[in-house]
């Protein structure tokens, strides 16, 4: 029995095959499904495959830098044997800061979003310390412009209510 499965993964990354993922067709579930999705071009070299897959992800994650795309692509690699390991990922260029020449011991982090200083982290009241939630003061509404006041036949005081 064939079941058509609309795999989100296949739709985003293309349909895997035995070339990009050796052993794909021997996976238990693969035998019983008829996967749909754009084909993962099989007759190309693996480098080309990577580029093609890159572009689909690239469209989805436009603001991400090329280093970021490379990392994301390496993490979402079909073949588990070729997927990046934790150690390799930590060494990835995406996480590397560069030394600014001329400025001693000054490191620049290339990738956005830049890390925030821990002092800028949001804080929450500690229940254990008996702190209470800060009550926001009710703020008055903004005054209405004079011409609009005339139009709506408001008196000056009405606009402050």
């Amino acid at each position: 029995m064939e079941t058509i499965i609309d795999f989100q993964i296949f739709n985003l990354l293309g349909q895997p095959n035995d070339e990009v993922w050796p052993g794909f067709h021997s996976l238990p579930v693969v035998k019983s499904i008829n996967p749909v999705g754009p084909p993962y071009v099989s007759c190309f070299l693996s480098m080309v495959n990577l580029t093609l897959r890159f572009s689909t992800l690239r469209q989805r994650f436009k603001p991400l830098s090329s280093e970021g795309h490379h990392l994301l692509s390496s993490l979402l690699m079909y073949d588990p044997a070729r997927r990046v390991s934790a150690d390799q990922a930590l060494e990835h260029q995406y996480f590397k800061s560069v030394l600014i020449p001329g400025v001693e011991a000054m490191l620049m982090i290339r990738e956005n979003p830049l890390p925030k200083h821990p002092d800028l982290f949001a804080s929450f009241p500690s229940q254990a310390a008996g702190e209470r939630k800060h009550k926001w003061m009710a703020s008055p509404s903004a005054p209405v412009r004079e011409d609009r006041m005339a139009k709506a036949e408001l008196t000056d005081l009405d606009s402050f209510v």
Binding site: M1, T3, I5, D6, F7, Q8, I9, L12, P16, F24, L27, P28, V29, V30, K31, S32, I33, R60, F61, P63, L64, G68, L71, L72, S74, L75, L76, Y78, P80, A81, R83, V84, S85, A86, A89
Partner: protein
Amino acid sequence: MPRSPELLLGAREYTTAVDMWSVGCIFAELMQKEPLFTGRGEIDQINKVSLIWHHGDNN
């Protein structure tokens, strides 16, 4: 935790690479501020497929 394709496709042997797939999904989620793959439907579908598959096994 987002499940890797080899798990979804019923691999009996897997490695720590399954966690790296999840890291990739979380990385993507941080970038686009919404989940990359909305797991629920996918897992449901896979469960259904597994049922069909096991049924086929018995025959």
